[in-house]
């Protein structure tokens, strides 16, 4: 009985702690938005973060996009040719990437590459009292450190997802047209006919934007909230990657269920 009570107490404490943390994160998000104006006045800071989060993530995004496209092309052709529809490979590759794989995989890669780096940077700044020093110099760390990194991530993410999808479509073309020999005209024209700009492309961009907000918020929050020790920073980085991955997948399901309900 005593053990059950202890177990319940621990579960209760975790739930209460989780609710507090969620509340703190919501307040943190509000503060990030509040200080965004000040942050945009120092535009060079956001541009710098665009470089770190966006440009430096390009290699992993482009290479991954290419390989995902190659696999999609192969699998797509292998399945579709059973039904005599191998010319629809381009359509399958494009829709898979634009609607789902582009935003989701780019989001996961972005969280692992840029999100973890942002958490580590802010966490170390906190550990070495740089954030406190800034605050003592009457400069808000939200305006100077947090908001630029948040917006750098939010702006980068849709662009990276778009490049991931573009590279994937190119990979699909490479495998199915160049190596397998599907008709090139069929590959592109079927894709052009089947992909709807608003329904497929815009919804994909909305998804990647939402994932960008989620991953960037998690990354800056975990860095800012970490315990100021080596172990604290390490745990915060792990939490960033795990929470971002789970959040992206959960949000993807919610967004998909609202966006794609079967087009007539």
């Amino acid at each position: 009985m005593k053990r059950v009570a202890e177990l319940l107490r621990r579960i209760g404490a975790r739930v209460v702690d989780g609710v507090w943390r969620l509340g703190f994160a919501a307040r943190f998000f509000a503060l990030v938005l509040l200080y965004s104006g000040q942050s945009f006045r120092r535009l060079h800071l956001t541009l710098r973060e665009l470089w770190f989060s966006g440009v430096l993530s390009l290699l992993i995004i482009l290479v991954s996009g290419l390989f995902v496209g190659l696999v999609l092309g192969l699998q797509g052709y292998e399945i579709l040719q059973r039904f005599g529809s191998s010319e629809a490979t381009g359509t399958m590759v494009a829709l898979s990437l634009l609607r789902e794989l582009g935003p989701v995989l780019a989001g996961l890669l972005f969280a692992a590459r840029a999100g973890s780096a942002v958490t580590a940077e802010i966490g170390l700044m906190k550990t070495t009292e740089q954030l406190t020093a800034m605050d003592m110099m009457a400069v808000s760390p939200f305006a100077r450190v947090v908001a630029p990194r948040f917006w750098g991530g939010v702006i980068s993410m849709p662009l990276l997802a778009a490049l991931f999808s573009a590279m994937g479509i190119l990979g699909g073309w490479l495998i199915s047209v160049v190596f397998i020999g599907i008709d090139e005209g069929a590959y592109w024209s079927q894709m052009q006919a089947a992909v709807d700009f608003r329904y497929d492309v815009v919804n994909g961009v909305i998804k990647s934007f939402v994932f960008g907000v989620a991953v960037s918020l998690i990354a800056v929050f975990e860095g800012y909230d970490c315990a100021p020790t080596a172990e604290g920073v390490s745990r915060a980085i792990t939490r960033t990657v795990v929470s971002s991955a789970l959040t992206i997948l959960a949000l993807d399901f919610v967004l998909t269920s609202f966006m794609f309900r079967g087009q007539s």
Binding site: T128, T132, A133, M134, M136, M137, S140
Partner: protein, 298 residues
């Protein structure tokens, strides 16, 4: 040969008037009122009480040391004066303003007239030495780049590191990093400079250099300084007044001469670095024999 602080003296008046012209500052209190005044200040982290009724004041132009053993609440005191923490009871006044009643903007306006040297410098690692010192100037003034450059060089010259302006913080030794942080702390010619353990981990030469810098900069800028430290011998050479803190209370105070002559057991133990005295060497625990026999094991 021109003294390195001479430039600071010349420029500080110009910069101070410029900062005051762009940053609306509250009316400064008369010169005879204390710059910092703590009255019956209490503070606790959750259930753990750190400060238990502190009364302390710092007059303008003074260099004051707050001393005590590790974990006695010295750094907490500094954070209360800087407005990073709020007292749970009592009042903390800086330049006549009660910190508990200040809005965020007012607190930031006050902090523009404060400088703080952190224990390990807290230099921004993504900036060079030059940019670190220029940071407060760029953030709070619209000075032309040429003037910022000259001011930064004067500040770095004052701490003897003009030649290191292009280095990154990772290339500096502990003592150099603290001197750069000191140059950054005085960039806006503050009225109050706070030092958190300025002597910790320094070699004897750096220790002496930092100590002399603290005194000279205070006098050159016409500022007041509060220094949290447990390096008694270096501190007594440069400060005007000393407060001893133990278990959250001021247990002794006086000028350096009074401290040296004091027969107070706490002061005596501290000055002569004795293991036994009012401050116990051991953290409260069961007797060693009982502990070795396994009693009270976790």
């Amino acid at each position: 040969m021109q003294h390195p602080l001479q430039g600071i003296r010349i420029v500080s008046g110009t910069l101070a008037s410029f900062v005051e012209s762009v940053v609306p500052l509250p009316v400064t209190e008369p010169a005879d009122t204390p710059l910092v005044c703590l009255r019956n200040v209490r503070f606790a982290y959750g259930e753990r009480e750190i400060l238990r009724g502190i009364d302390l004041s710092v007059r303008r132009g003074q260099v004051v040391a707050i001393m005590g053993g590790s974990g006695c609440g010295k750094t907490t005191l500094l954070r209360l004066i800087g407005g990073q923490l709020r007292a749970s009871a009592g009042s903390v006044q800086v330049d006549g303003q009660d910190l508990a009643r200040l809005s965020r903007d007012d607190l930031y306006a006050l902090r523009r007239r404060m400088g703080m040297l952190f224990q390990f410098g807290a230099l921004f690692t993504d900036m060079s030495v030059f940019d670190n010192v220029a940071f407060p100037l760029r953030e709070h003034t619209d000075l032309p780049p040429e003037l910022v450059r000259d001011l930064v060089r004067l500040k770095l010259n004052a701490v003897g590191l003009r030649g290191a302006e292009g280095l990154s913080p990772a290339e500096l030794s502990g003592g150099m990093a603290r001197r750069v942080a000191l140059a950054r702390a005085i960039a806006l010619d503050p009225m109050l400079i706070m030092y958190d353990e300025p002597f910790a981990g320094l070699d004897p030469i750096s220790l002496g250099v930092i100590g002399q810098l603290i005194r000279r900069l205070n006098d050159a800028l016409g500022a007041s300084s509060i220094m949290v430290t447990h390096d008694i011998h270096e501190s007594l050479e440069i400060v005007d007044y000393v407060y001893f803190v133990s278990e959250g209370r001021i247990v002794a105070q006086g000028t350096p001469d009074e401290i040296r002559a004091s027969t107070d057991p706490f002061v005596h133990q501290f000055v002569h670095a004795e293991a036994d005295g009012p401050v116990p060497f051991h953290y409260p625990a069961a007797p060693l024999a009982a502990s070795l026999l396994g009693e009270g094991a976790p």
